[in-house]
Subunit: 244 residues, 2 copies
């Protein structure tokens, strides 16, 4: 396949860290690679990914969207470029540049599907800001960076709401922040910071009955994904760093 | 060059937005492309960049470092991956994936050099968060994103100090923040936030004489580039958004 010692064929791929929250825990979607003699990572777990196809993908984000749809049966409400991994050691066969993305999806919108040469797909819990299994390629590095990015973005954006679907209550959003950041937040301060950031609008509806108190449902305003939202009320030692 | 309508050759490149501060203004390095009949952007100004070379570059960051050294004669004290631009419309000849970087350099360390097929290299001032001229490829988009990233990172890191060299005084750092953010900062609050963030250490030296008050010189502590630093004292309407 290679012309000489230093020449390999260039390939372009997209890999995606797809996150959801279920059972009050952050989860990431992993797929198991098929058993193949010519695959150096045969049978190992990996991030969903695929090669760019010039005939159908105008750009590399199209590749990510195509892979995501194939694996989950849905479009992600939030998809962001994470980092590009491009070095000669990533794959023994080709020089593969992987443009990595992360996506946030509500658990309920997903119907798992082992596409793209995978034999199995499943949600794996994120514990201690990592996944416990050894993944193919440099995917452990990508996963750890994606988790770090999601946690970091929670400190200055409201994008975590995309884990909840098109509409959600403020207590649900608070739960997601507490789950992912691994700390308690003061409800009053959190709600105040949401109001101040002005990223949500009421849908005019309330939650389905859950006892006598039914919380109001909200959706994102236009432009909310790039707006600054500093969730206040973090009850932990490092909270002073967030800008007191 | 292309096999059929939808197939082009894949190419991998690094493009770099190199920033400095001179004459109390943020500047970006641009190069002028040679006049060539087969170059669709012949003679136009562009970001410094170059193709990945498998024989010398282990990864794409090596390409960025090589290009930067060729253009400036120096290593940048700060180089960060910005974004990857990868779509079929970027270049009429190939499918070029450009991994873009931004670099921060002190003005004094640079000796400009038009390398990599460029005929001229010069510092161009950043005004209104953009550059005023039409650049080759999608480089205006890359430049605007790079400026936005630098300004944004100033709000939670101290990396702007790399524009000043290995050692700098706190008043010099304050000047850089004011220059790039385009607003005044309260000196006392700014200094207090620097102390709180604990990212600088004294070199034990003072500025060369500039009148009777010689400011103490500092350098970055290890790990300072990834540490959070929220510069306080921004005197402007939106300052409440930074986390009051």
């Amino acid at each position: 396949m290679s012309k000489n010692k230093t020449q390999k064929e260039y390939k372009l791929a997209a890999d995606i860290a797809i996150f959801t929250v279920k059972d009050e825990q952050l989860h990431i979607l992993l797929v198991r690679r098929a058993e193949r003699d010519d695959d150096p990572f045969s049978g190992m777990w990996a991030l969903p990914g695929g090669f760019h196809r010039m005939d159908v993908d105008d750009d590399i984000k199209d590749t990510a969207i195509r892979v995501l749809k194939a694996e989950t049966g849905a479009d992600a409400p939030y998809l962001e470029q994470l980092y590009t991994f491009s070095n000669k050691g990533r794959d023994p066969r080709y020089y593969v540049t992987s443009v990595s993305y992360f996506a946030l999806m509500p658990y309920t919108s997903v119907s798992l599907n082992a596409g793209h040469g995978a034999t199995e797909a499943k949600w794996v819990p994120v514990r201690n800001n990592t996944v416990s299994r050894k993944l193919a390629f440099d995917h452990n590095t990508i996963v750890d960076m994606a988790i770090e990015r999601v946690r970091s973005k929670l400190q200055y954006t409201a994008i975590a709401g995309h884990l909840l679907g098109e509409e959600f209550s403020r207590p649900q959003l608070l739960d997601v922040y507490e789950t992912i950041l691994g700390c308690k937040l003061d409800k009053t301060q959190f709600n105040r910071s949401l109001v101040r950031a002005d990223v949500l609008e009421s849908t005019g509806r309330k939650e389905e009955s859950k006892g006598h108190k039914r919380a109001e449902l909200f959706r994102f305003k236009d432009g909310a994904d790039t707006a600054l939202f500093f969730p206040r009320g973090l009850v932990r030692a490092s909270s002073r760093k967030e800008g007191e």
